[in-house]
């Protein structure tokens, strides 16, 4: 895959990259000015034509989502920006917010004009202290420059952007959990329909979009839909539901890799290319055992699935849930999949919001069964039990309200299917591998 000139990351690491002055010097807010001269319908069409799909995990076409808003609504309409970024392995939103907040804010401003919204909230996970400070300052600069507030640039367009800090709960990233949390309640996801575009924040029509999605909108208006569409992978003719995977994507690379980091690459790079060409290979001359393709909710790819392209359609071919956040975590061949899977199961047991029984109980039991296995007390039939529990929870089997549950089941299903001999061998050995730190944490919660 030829390396491409970074666009989303172009200004990252440059001196004073977060300031309004340098952003404008580099051509910033020209896209917004252009957008103000376009009609909302024209902007929506441009975004639709670009093929942009949401970067937050579900990959829903952005322009299409915007058309679900009721026509001629009296308002208010809200744009809620999802900056909760909590999917293990994912950190690209953080880099954008810390290093180049104005390209996100410009995307938000363009999007608000497109969907006829005068209020946007950025829901930011509380752990991102620097992102908070940088965004706060950037927003203040915009008000001072007359680019936010009333009658922006004399066009009659009013817009306020507010920062709202979360409180360390993964479920606040699920869009209706986010809405409930913003409203001041526990983050219990809502039953859909109604979808947020019809009835969302404060019971008003609401669009929820991810931080990286907003950055893409800026560049689509700046450079045009054709530029965006010139990168990536067209729809798979064998999958009628694939809408194609266009544009640049911020892949996060971490785990057992020599050069972990965030890489901007057109959608469709393979894990092998990422690991070898970008990540400098696996440390200590080890080999890849497994790869998480897009955050742990998406499951695992094995070492013989590394040539599958990481576009929206690719990971599914390897039995994974999807591309997710394109956060690639590399696991080397000295690591036990039993340990890795326990780590994933513990995460979901900790983060299930508890309102659906299959998810609350299922995540807790998967963690307990894996703990038992790692205590040396497992039995071979536990593997089928785990698979059965994992398969019975989620939106796909139709037993839960949100997708956290599908994401909790997926790594379990993938790991046991793809690494079964390793699990069987471990159980037969009767080894106990629970570490001191894990015991301490288990006692704490």
């Amino acid at each position: 895959m030829p390396k491409c000139e970074p666009v989303l990351l172009a200004r990252v690491g440059k001196p004073d990259s977060a300031s309004l002055a340098t952003y404008q010097r580099d051509g910033g807010y020209e896209a917004f000015k252009k957008a103000l001269k376009m009609s909302p319908e024209e902007i929506i069409n441009e975004v639709k034509t670009s093929g942009l799909r949401g970067r937050g995990g579900a990959g829903f076409p952005t322009g299409l989502k915007w058309t679900f808003l009721p026509k001629n609504h009296a308002g208010p309409i809200y744009l809620a920006i999802n900056g909760d970024e909590s999917e293990p392995g994912t950190f690209n939103n953080r880099i954008l917010m810390e290093e180049d907040p104005h390209q996100i804010l410009e995307g938000i401003m363009i999007s608000c004009h497109a969907i006829k919204s005068n209020t946007s909230y950025i829901y930011l996970r509380v752990e991102y202290g620097k992102s908070y400070r940088v965004l706060k300052q950037a927003i203040e600069e915009l008000y001072a420059a007359g680019l936010l507030g009333k009658n922006i640039l004399g066009t009659g367009f009013d817009l306020d952007i507010y920062l709202h800090r979360g409180a360390a709960a993964y479920i606040c990233g699920e869009e209706t959990g986010l809405i409930e949390s913003l409203e001041g309640k526990r983050a219990w996801p809502r039953i859909k329909p109604p979808f947020p575009a019809i009835e969302g924040l404060f019971r008003k029509p609401t669009i929820v979009n991810n931080i990286e999605t907003m950055a893409c909108v800026t560049h689509i208006i700046n450079r045009g839909a054709d530029w965006f569409k010139s990168m990536g992978v067209p729809p798979d003719p064998n999958n009628p539901r694939d809408a194609g995977s266009y544009g640049p994507k911020l892949y996060c690379l971490s785990g057992h890799i020599n050069k972990p980091g965030c890489y901007e690459i057109p959608l469709g790079v393979t894990s092998r290319e990422l690991i070898e060409e970008y990540g400098g290979g696996v440390p200590n001359g080890r080999k890849v055992k497994a790869v998480v393709p897009g955050g742990i909710s998406m499951g695992f790819m094995s070492a013989d699935e590394l040539d599958i392209p990481l576009d929206f359609n690719g990971p599914g071919k390897a039995g994974c849930l999807g591309l997710g956040t394109a956060a690639v975590v590399v696991v080397d061949d000295a690591t036990s999949m039993v340990d890795v899977l326990f780590n994933c199961a513990r995460f979901f047991a900790h983060e299930s919001c508890g309102q659906c029984t299959p998810c609350r109980e299922g995540t807790a039991w998967m963690q307990k069964i894996l703990w038992r296995i790692r205590s040396g007390q497992g039995e071979l039939r536990d593997l089928d039990l785990l698979t059965e529990v994992a398969g019975s929870m989620g939106i796909i089997p139709g037993t839960t309200i949100c997708g956290l549950s599908d994401g909790a089941g997926w790594p379990v299903k993938n790991a046991i299917q793809k690494f079964r001999p390793e699990f069987e061998e471990f159980i037969k050995s009767g080894k106990k591998v629970i570490r001191h730190a894990e015991e301490l944490m288990a006692a704490a919660h």
Binding site: G89, E127, V329, A437
Partner: protein, 169 residues
């Protein structure tokens, strides 16, 4: 028969200073209703007083025109907020235990810090200086293992490096 006396509210000193109340009120214009100020209010109070006491919950509820149980319901959902029996120390330290950090020694780092500071996860050192907790993916996975100290996350940590950061804070 005598009418039952109304239950008298115990006379507790107000815990929210006028300054804190003003900070909370300053959030009102951002939202179409006051309930949405619940999380901002909880943050403001916990940042200043290191926990959110029952009395603080009552006072927040009064400001937001909610029932205290509504504020408590929200607060208790998020493990982030602490009641008065479990106040935070001067510094809050989170060690990431999720996948990328675990693969690079994050959990063992937590155990090292527990030993060094003589606390269990969730506890505060005897001198009240440090509360040590585990966190789930802190979004700095390229710097695994990473540790959040108050508002900032530090990459590629060891127990010694964390100690040094805290000495400077």
């Amino acid at each position: 028969m005598q009418a039952a006396k109304p239950v008298e509210r115990r006379d507790v000193m107000a815990v929210l200073s006028e300054e804190l109340k003003e900070k909370i009120r300053a959030e009102f214009p951002k939202y179409p209703n006051k309930r949405a100020v619940t999380l901002p209010a909880l943050h403001i109070v916990q940042d200043a007083t290191r926990s959110v006491s029952l009395e603080a919950i009552r006072e927040i509820a009064e400001l937001l025109e909610l029932h205290p149980a509504e504020v408590h319901d929200t607060m208790s959902f998020y493990g982030y907020f602490r009641d008065e029996k479990h106040p935070l120390g001067k510094h809050r330290v989170w060690v990431c235990r999720s996948i990328s950090c675990m693969l690079r020694g994050g959990e063992d780092l937590l155990a090292d810090l527990c030993e060094k500071w003589n606390v269990k996860p969730g506890e505060t050192t005897e001198d009240g200086k440090i509360t040590l907790e585990f966190g789930e993916c802190l979004g700095v996975c390229e710097g695994a293992p990473c540790v959040l100290v108050d508002e900032d996350c530090h990459p590629c940590m060891t127990a010694q490096k964390v100690d040094e950061i805290l000495k400077k804070s």
